[in-house]
């Protein structure tokens, strides 16, 4: 078991390395390559400025070297383990701070920008994941327990419809109708906090102006719509899946044995069937996480949350290359970690998995 987990963790590194190759060369093979956008402003510079800029970029991105050298140069820069330049022109190998470069538009280190925005994306995902699982298992049980009923019959089409419902439409409608004074103003339209949230006490309380919502409730209130928009698609997929999994198990021999022994239907469902039905749901978690991270891009853009997805979209719009690369790599890393957790979870949950 432990050796399986270790081997599974070690497998992440070659995969990540492969992904850096894919991502970097896709970008480097573009017409003009990495340098095209960076040098595009040079026409407006004075000759000496332009020369200095060129030299700086050559040093930073190794633009005067062939593309493979550039790749290793870049990889060394972003990796936490690698060569560092010492003062005397020597280089040393060891741990170092990864350098994601600097955002050319925002004039700030990309590492800082990622560090500020990553927690918000993570928060969205961490809130959505349990919500999706809890609700979809409940709905799946309900549909499977009353199989053949009206709800069960309609559920297949309903889930498919829910899954097909575009997040961009759901988000736009939610913003347009639920956060608008012209219709109903139930939720705030933009951002993660109220403007005045810095002065709020942490918890809701009774103050001078009656009930005040406090920082925590304010944030939660801002997060309701984004989390809902992020979750419903995966919820539909998982509900359909959990219904199928429970149906597969509900008529299995072991369930029949339990019933024959006089175990109540409820206990059969929740103690015997549910456990075995959870296994396929754990496997899908690996596929859902990259989707959630992708969905976070849309949701953050619509609801104006300063997360990593929105940072990526802004970077793409402004052609801020270092930032685009960093967001892609970080998003992938999140997906890989999710995969890893799902695999380990599966090994923990199912003793039948072999670890050779």
């Amino acid at each position: 078991m432990l050796s399986y987990v270790i081997r599974r963790i070690l497998l992440v590194f070659p995969t990540l390395l492969g992904i850096t190759v894919i991502v970097y060369f896709m970008i480097a093979l573009a017409p003009g390559g990495i340098g095209a956008n960076l040098l595009s402003s040079e026409g407006t510079m004075r000759p000496e400025e332009r020369k200095a800029m060129q030299e700086y970029l050559n040093k930073r991105y190794a633009l005067d070297k062939p593309v493979t050298v550039r790749y290793f140069h870049w990889l060394n820069r972003i990796s936490p383990v690698g060569f560092t330049d010492k003062a005397e022109g020597k280089s040393a190998f060891g741990f170092k701070a990864p350098d994601f470069g600097e955002s050319f538009i925002r004039r700030r280190p990309v590492g800082d920008l990622i560090r500020e925005s990553l927690p918000i994306t993570l928060l969205l995902n961490i809130l959505s994941m349990p919500l999706i699982y809890a609700l979809s298992i409940l709905v799946g049980i309900r549909a499977a327990a009353r199989r053949g009923g009206a709800f069960d019959k309609a559920s297949s089409t309903l889930f498919l419809a829910l899954w097909s419902f575009p997040v961009i439409l759901a988000g736009t409608l939610a913003i347009g109708f639920l956060t608008n004074e012209k219709y109903v103003h139930w939720f705030p339209a933009n951002g993660l906090h109220d403007i005045l949230s810095d002065n709020m006490p942490f918890l809701p309380h009774h103050g001078a102006n009656g009930w005040e919502r406090g920082w925590l409730f304010d944030t939660a209130w801002h997060l309701v719509l984004p989390v809902l928009c992020l979750s419903y698609g995966s919820f539909a997929v998982l509900s359909k899946l959990s219904r199928g999994a429970i149906l597969d198990n509900i008529l299995a021999d072991y369930a029949r044995t339990a019933r024959a022994k006089g175990v109540s239907e409820k206990a059969v469902l929740y103690r015997h069937v549910l456990r075995n039905s959870l296994l396929p749901l754990i496997t899908v978690a690996a596929g859902i996480l990259p989707e959630l991270i992708g969905g976070a891009v849309i949701v953050e853009t619509i609801f104006g949350l300063p997360g990593m997805g929105r940072l990526g979209v802004d970077a793409v719009r402004q052609k801020d290359l270092d930032l685009v690369l960093a967001v892609t790599i970080m998003g992938t890393l999140l997906g890989l970690v999710g995969n890893l957790i799902a695999d380990i979870g599966y090994a923990l949950a199912d003793p039948r998995v072999s670890y050779d």
């Binding site: 492969g18 997040v167 979209v313």
Partner: protein
């Protein structure tokens, strides 16, 4: 091959269906017994038809008019090469679908032949004017130069901002004149939506086609050769699947540009992994079967073994992933357009949805609801067809016959 034999000694048309039908024909028949598939196919047909004929349904150019004593057709005069190609291909598909006696491969070859000829001819013969002046028609009518003007059902072009109109046409609610309202630039929403059918369908089909070609080739080689090639291929697929699709999409669009064809290629490049997985599994199963050994023993070239002998055996279930693939490609395109990274200069549902939120808190619901529902319905239709296909091809569920 079975088709040819079957048609050679075919019984009367009204004979009962026999079990010797190919899996493909059987799947299609089975598919049409599902009401969800029928509804989905009907909606897809509507969207494709609207996309092909949009310049004849919604156009500011009159169909015919009598301009200073001459009969002219401004609509035909302004027709573009793409319009001609699409209309010809649309009818070619229908005619070829009706030619039951000809084998599928021959029909496909004829179709590709027509495609190339039409493109050549259209670009040789059709020369639409470079500058389009919509106000000309309005002025001619008001000056009394034009008589008996026959207009299309929706008399507005998608990019006609109606600057000549006496009243402002920006951000109008749905009304008698503009059935689904107007955009912030003063264009007719319904007209734009009809023309957007073209982009949606084109991106759906072409990018799925690209991903299908990549997936089939990669998957076929992986499954056929197995061993280390398979191992490397699987790692490659895992890597591609680990990158969140939307992030990969926006990155590639940022770097390779936003032209329509580039976006088709990019969406195709992000969707091939599932198909490759599928073909690989199928080929791993087939590679040890006798007919494959026979083909190898005959000394057939590799491509023939792979794509003429093995592929047709694993082709039908690919239809499922094609159907779901088109749905996700359309969704990707509308998401990209919504984020402001979609194809430039062409009306698209996602882009209109993005414009629904105007300045400040203003919200033009008609710009959100109508294009948004169009995206939803189209994606839903393709997904329903895919789901029905899955059921139709599921051997556990093959209860009829």
């Amino acid at each position: 091959m079975t088709d040819a034999i079957a048609t050679g000694s075919s019984p009367p048309a009204d004979a009962a269906p026999r079990r010797s039908r190919s899996l493909y024909a059987q799947a299609i028949r089975e598919l049409l017994t599902y009401w969800s598939a029928r509804l989905g196919l009907a909606w897809i047909f509507l969207v494709v038809t609207a996309g092909v004929f949009s310049p004849f349904i919604a156009s500011s150019h009159p169909i015919v008019w009598n301009y200073k004593g001459h009969w002219e057709s401004p609509m035909l005069h302004n027709i573009t090469q793409v319009d001609v190609v699409l209309v010809v291909l649309y009818f070619a598909v229908i005619v070829l679908a009706l030619l039951r006696h000809v084998s599928l491969l021959v029909r496909l070859a004829i179709y590709v032949g027509i495609l190339f000829m039409v493109i050549q001819l259209a670009y040789l013969l059709v020369r639409p004017p470079m500058n389009i002046d919509y106000s000309r028609y309005w002025q001619a009518e008001h000056a009394g130069d034009a008589q008996s003007v026959v207009r299309t059902i929706i008399p507005y072009s998608p990019s006609d901002r109606m600057l000549y109109a006496t009243e402002f046409t920006q951000n109008l609610r749905p009304s008698r004149q503009f059935l689904l309202g107007t955009t912030e630039n003063g264009e007719d929403v319904l007209s734009r939506m009809l023309h957007a059918c073209r982009i949606a369908s084109a991106i759906g089909f072409i990018s799925t086609g690209i991903s299908l070609v990549i997936g089939v080739i990669v998957g076929a080689f992986m499954g056929y050769f197995a061993g280390w090639l398979d191992l490397i291929g699987m790692r490659l697929i895992e890597m591609f699947e680990a990158i969140p699709t939307l992030i990969l999409l926006i990155t590639l669009v940022a770097i390779y540009g936003r032209s329509l064809y580039m976006i088709m290629i990019i969406i195709g490049l992000t969707g091939w992994t599932g198909k490759a997985r599928f073909v690989r599994a199928e080929f791993l199963r087939l590679r040890n079967q006798d007919f494959v050994y026979a083909a190898q023993a005959l000394g057939l070239p590799l491509w023939s073994v792979l794509f003429r002998h093995m592929l047709p055996n694993g082709l039908t279930p690919l239809l499922i992933s094609v159907s779901f693939g088109v749905a996700s490609a359309i969704l990707s395109e509308s998401t990209l357009s919504f984020l402001g990274l979609g194809p430039v200069d062409s009306p698209s549902w996602g882009q209109m949805l993005d414009q629904a939120r105007g300045v400040g808190t203003s919200f033009h619901w008609w710009m959100a609801v109508f294009p948004g529902v169009a995206i939803f319905m189209t994606v839903f239709a393709y997904n329903m067809v895919g789901e029905a296909l899955r059921d139709a091809l599921d051997p556990k569920l093959l209860k009829r016959e």
